[in-house]
Symmetry: C2
Subunit: 212 residues, 2 copies
């Protein structure tokens, strides 16, 4: 498998963690988002969305990080990233989507660029925007996991899964502009537990071949 | 089942379509987002994310529209909304996520309110923002479905599924500020096909009891 990504893309980071947790080998291919390589004709042929990650598995090109991870989970079920019942899967998917649908899209590079270039917002305003949506989403995430009987060492039980895979890259983003993370003790306890695992540690941005 | 929603919420609209396609009865409960009812203490107890939809099924509260729909699909599989192979499911989930992770989060009510109130952007600028992200995402969506061998009467084959369920409410949003939809002929052909079905037609905003 070949994973087109960018060291700092948190959607690509999610897929790297999932591949590592499952012990699946892959060849990394760097698409430099700040240099606009995602809009190069060859890459657009692969993924017309002009986004990373894109995972090539044989003849097939897979896109959208959550869809890729569910595909990996179905094709390589030995280390499951989703729990065994519809109710539990709904909980884990909802947690993943708090990150992937409520927080992350608002801090995407192209969104920050639009705020700066089209709307002429200065750097502190863009940083406030970035942190505002993370804080709002992390508050919701913390409420969903703190004291919940299904929360364990990880977001759901005692094995890392899809929710953890989404949470960790978002915490990396939160640290970029020094968001105060004290209001989210359960979330941060789980983050630290995850980062103690090689699958998460090896997937982090500054361990990638294209890191700057 | 009881569905907490808002007539104009496109995430709630998705769940209404899914319930209708599966022929599942539900009791609607209106949460008026513009009046801030999603932040009322009673609703926050139900869903600390302060978002609709929330689906109550027995003792269980389900949140995040895609997680709810996958749950319904697993619990009530007679009318499936996802296809039968991991590869096909990955395609459909990716299409759904183009809408749910790339377009919709940027046009959410609270985001538009932040642009207007915090960033002091005028109404035409907010409308331009709204349409910019829809146009970008619809362009990607059209590229993924136009001429693809798996595209049929609907986004995937000849039965409506998760991708269609996400697409239709987003087209309703696109029409609000009169986005030019001519560049997306495949997408619009599928939209019209969907709207010919009672499950989609009955789920639309102005057919809801709380419609204004």
């Amino acid at each position: 498998m070949k994973l087109y990504g960018f060291f700092r893309s948190s959607a690509a980071f999610r897929v790297r963690i999932a591949l590592n947790l499952k012990g699946l080998d892959y060849e990394p291919a760097a698409i430099h988002l700040r240099r606009g390589e995602q809009r190069a004709p060859d890459f657009l042929k692969l993924n017309p969305q002009a986004l990373v990650p894109a995972l090539v598995d044989g003849e097939r090109v897979l896109t959208q990080s959550l869809a890729i991870i569910e595909y990996l989970d179905e094709r390589h079920p030995a280390v499951p990233l989703l729990p065994g019942t519809p109710e539990a899967r709904a909980r884990v998917r909802a947690l993943a989507q708090v990150i992937a649908c409520e927080i992350h899209p608002l801090g995407n590079l192209r969104v920050l660029q639009y705020l700066a270039k089209e709307l002429k917002q200065d750097e502190p305003t863009v940083q406030r925007w970035f942190n505002h949506w993370i804080a709002l989403g992390f508050g919701a995430f913390e409420s969903l996991i703190a004291g919940h009987p299904d929360t364990g060492r990880f977001c759901h039980g005692d094995r890392p899964g899809l929710a953890d895979v989404c949470l960790v890259p978002q915490v990396f983003n939160a640290k970029r502009y020094a968001l105060d993370l004290a209001p989210y003790p359960t979330l941060m306890r789980i983050f630290e537990t995850c980062m103690g695992l090689p699958a998460f540690e090896r997937a982090q941005p500054d361990r990638q071949p294209d890191a700057e």
